[in-house]
Subunit: 320 residues, 2 copies
Amino acid sequence: MSDTCVLVLDTDPLPDLDRLSGRARVVHADEKSLAERLPEADVLLVWDFLSDAVREAWPGGGPRPRWVHTPSAGVDRLLPELADSDTVLTNARGVFDQPIAEYVTGLVVAMAKDFRGSWELQRERRWRHRETFRVGGTRAVVVGSGPIGRKIGRTLMALGVTVDLVGRTEREGDPDFGRVHGIDGMNTLLAGADWVVCVAPLTESSRGMFDAAAFSRMKPGAHFINVGRGQHVVEADLLEALHGGRIAGAALDVFHTEPLPEDSPLWEAPGLWISPHMSGDTVGWRNDLAVQFLDNFDRWYAGEPLHNVVDKGLGYVPAT
Amino acid sequence: MSDTCVLVLDTDPLPDLDRLSGRARVVHADEKSLAERLPEADVLLVWDFLSDAVREAWPGGGPRPRWVHTPSAGVDRLLPELADSDTVLTNARGVFDQPIAEYVTGLVVAMAKDFRGSWELQRERRWRHRETFRVGGTRAVVVGSGPIGRKIGRTLMALGVTVDLVGRTEREGDPDFGRVHGIDGMNTLLAGADWVVCVAPLTESSRGMFDAAAFSRMKPGAHFINVGRGQHVVEADLLEALHGGRIAGAALDVFHTEPLPEDSPLWEAPGLWISPHMSGDTVGWRNDLAVQFLDNFDRWYAGEPLHNVVDKGLGYVPAT
């Protein structure tokens, strides 16, 4: 079986790949050569997970590759093309939970305490005491009930925040949150939220969900945080909400176009904090992602069931 | 008893003072008139708790005032003068626990995730992905085992940080922390800390405790956070540690001289975050502080024991 072919779409070098030696032949492709290489692959590792090349190069239904792994939580850059084939799709569920929960919690406190205002005053050597906001006792709506959203919710609760978790469908009896709200109930919840956090998978139904109508339902003091996908947000509507003072502030880690173009009006929108799609990327993350793939390869090679198999209809790994 | 005199050292108006009417006569003083007014006071409320005027105006041992209340956690601006009289001293223990714990936790995450680096890049419209640090799994030493230090410790633990709490004397069996380390053991702990947080009361033994020797024991990647008092830190030594890359960064909310003078070299020290003594000051804080005093006045007027009585020898309210 050492003629198993693992095709790697990469730009950066992949750590620890010699764990495959004796079991698989590794072939590398870039965006240009991908279409040509795909037919010989048994396994495709989308190491360059920000690339859209797989959708473009996808050969259609057929036996190969039998397994595609993306080292990201979102699989939106692979669907719907892969949905129509028998190919098994796996993702990086788990790796990003703690880092992104830390990141979002830090944003909430930094906004409540106006850290950016302090930093701007420091640049000007100005001492100006302000009263800031208490985080404990505020209310957050976290849209996305996968493991990252759950971890964000639990971490905010540890700071004394009341959290409403929103998933695809309403359910009761959740061990951490009691009720998980359905997406149909989101609009009602928005009116009571101090913090609205988007960490949903990007699907046809979630695309553009944060639009003028959604922002108009939020409180004037509310802050919006997006660590999901840029396409969840109608950026022009967010700009209008910020310029009009409709909401108090926002933080975006993801954008329609990445890197965010230098001439984007988002850079200077009032109360908007921009970071370059890095909320989950802590030192050692690439190694963690490589190990996660290689562990799954061990299972695949041994004929065992893979971990983190995506439901390609839903667009994410269903809760077990 | 309506000839009870409550003297208020104030600059800002004090909310809700009419709760005293019928029970006390309220007299206001500023720093200049304080010495003249003090002899007539039964109760002194140091509403301007950043003032050093009380120490200067203090008449020495004697029957009046019988009770002094400071709406701050630290009582260092009143000692040692008050220690030699029978006057009862109370403080604002409790009001600042949650806000300061939030503030410190936010600083830890903001430093780990390089939020300031992201703001600087945003100002320049530059997209530059970086790997940041995971907070979970790091180690913090919190110096100060009063309610604020304990709340900081518990909040960091909720983010997955291992916390060593340092108090005056070592003790075992703490319900939250197991062992509380004695100040004698601090130097050993510093070598293992990613985060060193000072929230100790300022006493003769804690003055200047963060000096060149202390910074030299920390890891090159360590960050130091001071929400205690400026005098805990030898500022020149901290500057040297930051300029020499001896530690990775620091955040100061308190300073030897407040407001921090415009020509202070601290404003531009590498990796130093400056805020204007506001870590505990959330919207409504003045009201909370006034209510805390007025509740204690109810007890005093009824002849009941006061809450938050400071041990003037120790310089803080001992744990019950």
